[in-house]
């Protein structure tokens, strides 16, 4: 996982010259007064990952434009603003900069590799930065926003989509089984067989036996053994004028079956139409919003243009009117969001419309079967033609309703107004039955025709039954499998979400309790809210004075809500950050009292030891507490962010930095400010030595403590070492330094002190000699009471190879 090796910011936000953090994957504790520019570090990292800085988007400071507000206002137009970062994985190192080209800001990135683009993209959803102002974002958001926020990060939206697809398939098959009403159709055809054969047929064997019985009088050579044989027998009947009667009887029987089928289909159509009508009525209430769907594409494209930084100016890309870019982005995002719910309803309306259209198509297919038979146009079948005409007109009238443009007409007929006159179905059915009876009377007495009639009608009905049964069986199998798959899917989703939420809740609770032990707020839990088998939101519940309550903002103080926000953030870091192993806490403890600040520090040290943490604060007490916690830890750096006019925000130089600067100036014979730099180095060195060997100075408050001068520290150091057996080793050099012109009161920091380069060189040699007496040049650590050898009575460095006799 990724940690930051170094960060260098130039000309960006509060940094005018350069702010460099050589981290080497260590955590950083940074103190800075308000306005010192420490948040420039957070802004730089946020911009690098997210292309924007959230808190600037709505700030007055941003009125003049997004990218230009990121540039330091004191740098020249020709200078670049840049953020350079290097990582654990060197292939991701990058410098992102903003240059002004003809007054327009342009962004450049030195790393455009696929790996880097992919890394930045997957980092966008990670929890890297927590600022004070964002602390309660999640806690105070709505249930739906909480769900959306978590779903987005863990990718649950995809799970819900697939669940929707499976559910729709189950419903589609169920609806298909219902609308076809197979049992009714099968039973109707069984009735036809009963009429033809005077016997109820339940199996293929029984049917074949019955046919053999019927054809016995014909004295055929072979018996029927299977269904295909029946078709052969039918072809044996010579075509005669009388055969036409049998064909006509088959047609009327088929029309009767189809009418029976239509009855179910029309009822199903009306049910679907009712659903369509209800959806239509619901949307029509908010037709003004619906009209805006037409603008969806335009707004989405506009948003892409604005977000893609194609246009950096503060103007609308469509009408070119002056408009703050960030505000415009926000406004369009809001408009698109309001469209979401009506788009969902419109999509449901379109789906219902499709179901009505499908039902209409099925009816049309049945009618086509009636129309395409050659007997449809026979002279005596006017009743059937009238019936087909009326049902065709009916289909057309419903199609007309489906074609109503919701934006223009806003009204469709209710179900009551589109009822089909079912009497027509009965009348046509009765007509066909009567025609059948008349035709039957015409063939009465002719044995062969009677046999042909029985076989033809029963064979057609039996064929239909076989097809319907098969269709029903296949659909039922699909329904059963899909239901099992859907239920398993729902179970899986629920289990995983619950597992996640249980772990998540437990961790939030643990972190919160760590910061607030023994308080009457316990068992913080995330709960899912559901409606009609769908997830609708997430709430935060907890035990408050032994009573289960929600939401938190109703019961908790500001600082407790902030603690909850921190607990949520830290839990999210562990749960969701898969790429990055660092996070930033930017001035988050302002509302905390001392005790809770300490507890947060302890929590970070105990639970997030393996993370690279950036802690920034302007609270001196917390900084001091944290400093004591991390002092001596090799995986932390501590520094102070200051601001001045020439550099902007910058870090205090470390002893290593100062040593590098001093030695370079001595090589260059450059004495500008050198005396002061050496003195600052000496002060830093003396503070480090005093801390390690426990040189005590008179108590002063924290701010003044930072201003301890070298003369005071040298005197106390002399007093401490004078008590030691090795006092003669330290005495001469300490005395020499005390008497130096470099050591004086605080005024000697003034520019009036102007030593020569030779004096500087000599004094620097003394400083190095002093350092050499206390610091082991191999392990680079100062002798310390932490490594005191009680047996041999020696004080040692960390590696133990550098020591003095010492009385502790």
């Amino acid at each position: 996982m990724i940690k930051i090796k170094s960060l260098c910011i130039k000309g960006f936000r509060g940094v005018k010259k350069e702010l460099s953090l050589e981290l080497n994957f260590k955590s950083a504790l940074l103190f800075g007064d308000n306005g010192s520019g420490k948040s420039s570090i957070t802004d730089a990292i946020e911009w690098l990952y997210k292309d924007s800085v959230r808190h600037l988007s709505s700030d007055e400071i941003d009125r003049k434009g997004g990218l230009t507000a990121l540039r330091n206002i004191f740098i020249a137009d020709i200078e670049k603003s840049s953020v350079e970062i290097s990582f654990t994985d060197g292939s991701l190192d990058s410098q992102k900069s903003i240059s002004l080209k003809k007054s327009n800001p342009e962004v450049e990135n030195s790393n455009n590799s696929d790996a880097f683009v992919e890394y930045i993209e997957s980092s966008k959803n990670e929890n890297l930065i927590l600022r004070y102002r964002d602390l309660t974002d999640f806690v105070l958001s709505t249930k739906k926003e909480k769900l959306d926020s978590l779903s987005k990060v863990i990718g649950f939206a995809d799970v819900s989509n697939i669940r929707g697809v499976l559910k729709k398939a189950v419903n589609e098959v169920k609806s298909s089984l219902k609308s076809k009403n197979y049992d009714n159709e099968i039973s109707q055809r069984e009735g036809q067989i009963m009429t033809s054969l005077n016997e109820r047929v339940v199996s293929e064997e029984q049917y074949v036996n019955k046919i053999n019985e019927i054809i016995k009088p014909l004295g055929l050579e072979k018996d029927v053994t299977k269904l295909e044989d029946i078709d052969n027998i039918l072809s044996l009947f010579k075509k005669s004028d009388d055969s036409v009667v049998i064909e006509q009887r088959a047609y009327y029987s088929d029309v009767i079956s189809k009418i029976n089928d239509l009855q179910n289909r029309i009822n199903n159509l009306l049910d679907l139409y009712e659903k369509y009508y209800q959806s239509f009525q619901k949307i029509v209430q908010d037709v003004e919003t619906l009209k805006k769907i037409a603008l969806n594409k335009l707004w989405t494209e506009g948003l892409n243009v604005l977000k893609g930084s194609i246009i950096e100016k503060d103007e609308c890309p469509l009408c070119f009117q002056k408009k703050d870019r960030e505000e415009l982005i926000k406004e369009i995002e809001l408009r698109l969001k309001t469209l979401e719910s009506i788009k969902k309803e419109k999509s449901q309306l379109d789906e219902t419309k499709k179901s009505v259209e499908d039902a209409l198509d099925e009816i049309k297919n049945v009618i086509v079967g009636v129309q395409t038979n050659k007997y449809f146009s026979s002279k005596g079948n006017q009743d059937i033609r009238d019936f087909v005409k009326s049902i065709t007109e009916y289909i057309s009238s419903i199609s007309q309703e489906l074609g109503v443009d919701i934006l223009k007409e806003q009204r469709i007929k209710t179900r009551d107004k589109i009822i089909f006159d079912m009497a027509k179905l009965n009348e046509t059915s009765v007509f066909c039955q009567k025609r059948n009876e008349v035709l039957l009377s015409q063939i009465k007495g002719s044995k062969i025709l009677e046999i042909q009639d029985k076989i033809t009608l029963s064979r057609q009905a039996y064929h239909d039954i076989k097809r319907l049964k098969k269709e029903k069986e296949v659909l039922e199998k699909q329904k059963s499998s899909l239901e099992i798959i859907y239920n398993a899917f729902v179970q899986k989703q629920k289990e995983e979400l619950e597992a996640f939420i249980n772990v998540f809740s437990k961790e939030i609770d643990e972190y919160y309790q760590y910061m607030h032990p023994g308080e009457k707020m316990e068992n913080i839990e995330i709960k899912i809210t559901e409606k009609e088998d769908e997830l609708t939101g997430i709430t935060l519940e907890f035990q408050f004075f032994d009573k289960s309550v929600s939401p938190p903002q109703k019961y908790l103080s500001e600082s407790h809500l902030n603690s909850l926000g921190i607990a949520l953030f830290l839990t999210s870091v562990k749960a969701f950050n898969k790429e990055n192993h660092f996070f930033i806490l930017d001035d988050i403890i302002s509302s905390f009292d001392l005790n809770h600040r300490k507890r947060l520090s302890d929590l970070l040290m105990e639970k997030f030891l393996d993370y690279q943490i950036f802690v920034m604060t302007h609270e001196r007490n917390w900084f001091d507490y944290m400093k004591n916690l991390v002092r001596g830890k090799v995986d932390w750096i501590i520094n102070v962010v200051n601001w001045n006019e020439s550099k902007g925000a910058h870090l205090n130089e470390t002893l290593v930095d100062l040593k590098r600067i001093i030695e370079q100036r001595l090589i260059d014979n450059d004495k500008t400010g050198l005396g002061n730099i050496i003195r600052i180095y000496l002060e830093g060195l003396l503070k480090e030595i005093s801390e390690e060997i426990e040189v005590y100075v008179k108590y002063r408050s924290n701010e003044i403590n930072e201003d301890r001068m070298s003369n005071e520290l040298l005197s106390e150091l002399k007093s401490k070492t004078n008590k030691q057996p090795c006092k003669d080793i330290f005495g001469p050099i300490i005395d020499k330094m005390i008497s130096s012109v470099f050591i004086g009161n605080k005024d000697s920091h003034d520019s009036s002190f102007d030593p020569s380069i030779g004096e500087c060189r000599a004094f620097w040699q003394d400083v190095l000699e002093l350092e050499k007496l206390f610091r082991h040049d191999v392990c680079n650590t100062i002798i310390s009471t932490k490594y005191y050898d009680k047996v041999e009575k020696k004080i040692r460095c960390k590696c133990g190879n550098f020591s003095y006799d010492w009385k502790n």
């Binding site: 697809v165 398939a169 099992i484 798959i485 749960a575």
Partner: protein, 63 residues
């Protein structure tokens, strides 16, 4: 906590990798759904069309 929390994609991959092991599910149907998911084509329309074609295939096969 990392290892215990699955992303949405991991949950889906997990489910469809094991779909054939769900008892009492038609193998052919489950395989087709799995294939559609793996190809990124598991949508309403595609699944509906697939169900129709599977139904026709089975009716014509044995009838």
């Amino acid at each position: 906590m990392d290892k215990r929390v699955k992303s949405g994609k991991e949950i889906l991959d997990d489910f469809f990798n094991n779909i054939l092991a769900i008892p009492n599910v038609e193998e052919k149907l489950a395989s087709q759904i799995k294939k559609m998911y793996e190809e990124g084509k598991l949508t309403n329309i595609n699944l509906s069309n697939k169900l129709t074609s599977l139904k026709e295939e089975e009716i014509n096969d044995k009838n």
